[in-house]
């Protein structure tokens, strides 16, 4: 342990800790901007300057390792002047149209400016001298360099967490900027639209592309029937933007709020998550049968899950030779979309051209997915608008709803029922667990051999998880699987996905079935979730997801009554011709760099 004093208070912290860590331990607040708990130290914004007795210059608390006997002061005149100037200099290059900014009141630079209570500043406003253009090319997010303070959180996110580096630091000095390859529009580079950069941007330089106004227009249009679906991870995070602590479940209140906003039908993506399990589970078992019984050489393993649109775009760019390994199943959002304007329209006797289909997702890549040309199997754009968790919170505030006082209510019927298996889609390992709960039972006629259906080895925050399930006691149809070991792997965050993909490319993958989610922690840590995020926050949301599962009466996808009904009335059986038409898709090879 290293002993030091900060503001004359003694503390000791492990070697390798930073001055910032030590200050946190003492509950001393040091402002930061470029620092983020998920990312490596950068030390480039200089907002965290502190004074070290005996040192020639001020030091950056976030980057300075502690040393024995250090005497640190965080609130001297020198420190305060320096920090004030640092923030002022950042502001001189930042378009401060705060009241009109999407991040108004949610901007870390604005909070700092507020803390320092600037009046007149001695620095020039340099923004007008630059010919800034906002990049609106991606359907998922916008990039406005005039608000960028070059803290490089986005660059570190894209390289460290996502192994993409779609953006990097370009040019130098006054011309330094965060740039894609040769400044190309974000829609034309290797970006996966995952939105992890958006989630970590301290200012309004990177924000989701919002469709709030379009959704309001649809709601107010008496001609339109507006249906909304909510993804599993939204219900365990929405509260954070409405004054609740991370990890509080607000499912019932959220449903009531959506109804009060004026949506005609409030439905659940969990329904189509259960449907995904039926389709994807059947697909996996069919692939195994074709390979093992029919000796079909074209079938290759592992089969990859296809729920995460960021992951889909990643593999389309980076490992296109393995596109045949992807499950052909659409994501739950898109399955829902295709059915809303067919099955739901028929059942409710509504002209599908009058239906506006909205989804609330923890995700920015879902906006891109909804725009894909493949996603029009209903004959219309299957999903019209995608809102993030954050945008829903904005709408709830705009409508003046007092969220805390709402009475919880239930989802509407037809495509509103769900099981615990669907809820856990929101956490890394959840799709695997849900698939195993159903597939094991199809093959053996018995429940998965885990206490209370909780397949705990697939859960948790480890980057790559491996789980082998021994299949025993098969029914007659599945005798060829008797005694087989189903090898599975789970990865979350594209850097971890890349680790698995390297093994696959080298021919060293032992796996049959692999679940991959683009975002750290899975959808609960999605790019569209409330800001900030950290490991602790993601863990709280994850805990809430599993508690939601435990509280469900039905916890296996094949027991979902709405799912049973749709196969009986509309789709026939899993992987039927009709199911293939509406619920499955294909993928596109894209530029690799």
């Amino acid at each position: 342990m290293i002993n030091l004093t900060i503001n004359d208070q003694k503390t000791s912290v492990p070697a390798g800790s930073t001055v910032l860590d030590a200050a946190k331990k003492l509950n001393i607040n040091i402002p930061t901007l470029c620092n983020h708990p998920d990312l490596c130290i950068a030390g480039n914004c200089r907002v965290c300057l502190v004074e070290q007795k005996g040192a020639r210059t001020l030091i950056a608390a976030c980057a300075m390792p502690v040393a024995e006997g250090m005497d640190i002061h965080t609130n001297t005149l020198k420190v305060r002047n320096a920090r004030k100037h640092v923030v002022e200099l950042l502001l001189s290059e930042h378009r401060s149209d705060c009241t009109k900014c999407y991040k108004n009141q949610k901007c870390e630079l604005q909070s700092l400016a507020n803390e320092f209570a600037f009046g007149d500043t001695i620095f020039l406003d340099l923004v007008e001298d630059h010919p800034y253009e906002i990049d609106r090319s991606s359907p998922s997010f916008m990039k406005d360099d005039s608000k960028c303070i070059r803290c490089q959180r986005c660059v570190r996110t894209c390289s460290e967490l996502q192994y993409i580096s779609a953006i990097a630091v370009a040019n130098k000095g006054a011309h330094q900027k965060i740039s894609s390859f040769h400044d190309r529009p974000m829609s034309h580079v290797v970006c996966t639209n995952c939105g992890q950069c958006v989630n970590r941007c301290p200012t309004g330089a990177l924000v989701e592309k919002t469709y709030i106004d379009q959704v309001w227009d649809a709601i107010y249009d008496p001609e339109k029937h507006v249906v909304v679906q909510t993804a599993p991870a939204v219900r365990v995070a929405l509260g954070e933007d409405l004054g609740y602590d991370p990890g509080e479940r607000v499912t019932g209140k959220m449903v009531t709020a959506l109804r009060q906003l004026g949506f005609n039908s409030v439905l659940d993506t969990d329904f189509s998550a259960d449907l995904t399990i039926m389709e994807e589970g059947t697909e996996l078992l069919t692939r195994l049968k074709k390979a093992l019984v029919d000796g079909d050489k074209k079938i290759s393993f592992p089969m990859f899950t296809s729920c995460s649109p960021g992951w889909i775009k990643f593999i389309e760019h980076k490992y296109p030779e393995f596109l045949p390994n992807l499950s052909t199943c659409k994501s739950p959002q898109q399955m829902f979309g295709a059915l809303a304007k067919t099955y739901y329209a028929q059942k409710r006797k509504i002209d599908p051209s009058k239906i506006v289909s909205v989804s609330v997702m923890p995700c920015t890549a879902k906006k891109y997915e909804a725009d894909r040309p493949e996603m029009r199997d209903s004959g219309y754009k299957d999903i019209d608008y995608v809102l993030t968790t954050r945008e829903l919170a904005v709408m709830i505030k705009q409508a003046g709803i007092n969220f805390r006082n709402l009475e919880p209510s239930h989802y509407d019927s037809i495509m509103g029922d769900s099981t615990g298996a669907a809820v856990i889609f929101g956490a890394t390992g959840g799709v695997m667990e849900a698939a195993l709960r159903t597939a094991y039972e199809i093959v053996t006629g018995r429940e998965v051999p885990f206490n209370n259906l909780n397949i705990t080895p697939v859960r948790g925050m480890e980057g790559v998880k491996e789980v082998t399930i021994k299949i025993e006691g098969c029914t007659d149809d599945w005798k060829f699987l008797e005694g087989a070991e189903l090898k599975t792997a789970i990865a979350h965050g594209l850097t971890n996905a890349n680790k698995i993909m390297r093994l696959v490319r080298q021919g060293k993958s032992p796996y049959h079935f692999v679940e991959i989610m683009a975002c750290p922690g899975g959808c609960i840590g999605g790019g569209g979730q409330p800001i900030p995020t950290s490991m602790e926050i993601r863990k709280n949301r994850m805990k809430a997801i599993y508690s939601e599962d435990e509280h469900m009466i039905l916890r296996k996808s094949h027991e979902n009554p709405d799912v049973i009904a749709i196969y009986k009335d509309f789709l026939g059986k899993p992987n039927s011709h009709k199911a293939h038409e509406l619920l499955h898709t294909h993928y596109v090879e894209r530029e690799q760099y």
């Binding site: 390289s159 953006i167 580079v189």
Partner: protein, 154 residues
């Protein structure tokens, strides 16, 4: 626009495929072709298995790793104070007049580009220019005409 062909492969074989080989590889391309095309940068990214944005980020940091179209001969004239005092203005005017281009431009036959540069360390023999890697010093308008004529007939 040139085709980068096998050059990137040759350079990676010479310098290796680690991240630290990026600079010598980019320098090797510029040595041969004066500037970096998008195609060349993507090829480098592929060979080193890094992102193209990172290659561009590095290239755009260095003035001498150009990512805009440049002529076969890049004339860089020192814009700093000593050269200015010793008549850099006249030298620029002479070259502009001779090549019919302005500072920052490239001749239509892609033979010459005219750029300004920060100090190149020849203050004691100002005014100075660089043509690709070679410095020419103690210039007069007459002298610079002769030098450029020499390149025209190369």
């Amino acid at each position: 626009m040139y085709q980068v062909g096998n050059l990137v492969k040759e350079l990676t074989e010479k310098h290796g495929r680690l991240r630290e080989s990026l600079m010598p590889i980019l320098q090797g391309i510029v040595e041969r072709h004066s500037y970096l095309t998008d195609e060349a940068m993507v090829e480098v990214a592929k060979e080193l298995d890094i992102s193209a944005a990172e290659v561009y980020g590095t290239a755009s940091f260095y003035t001498f790793l150009d990512t805009k179209v440049r002529g076969k001969y890049v004339i860089r004239i020192c814009k700093t104070i000593t050269c200015s005092m010793k008549g850099k203005g006249e030298i620029i005017e002479t070259i502009e007049d001779m090549l019919k281009i302005k500072v920052g431009e490239t001749t239509s036959d892609r033979m010459f580009s005219l750029l300004e540069t920060n100090c190149i360390g020849w203050c004691h023999k100002a005014p100075a220019i660089l043509i690709n890697d070679l410095p020419y010093t103690e210039l007069s308008p007459e002298k610079v005409v002769e030098i450029i004529k020499g390149y025209m007939h190369k």
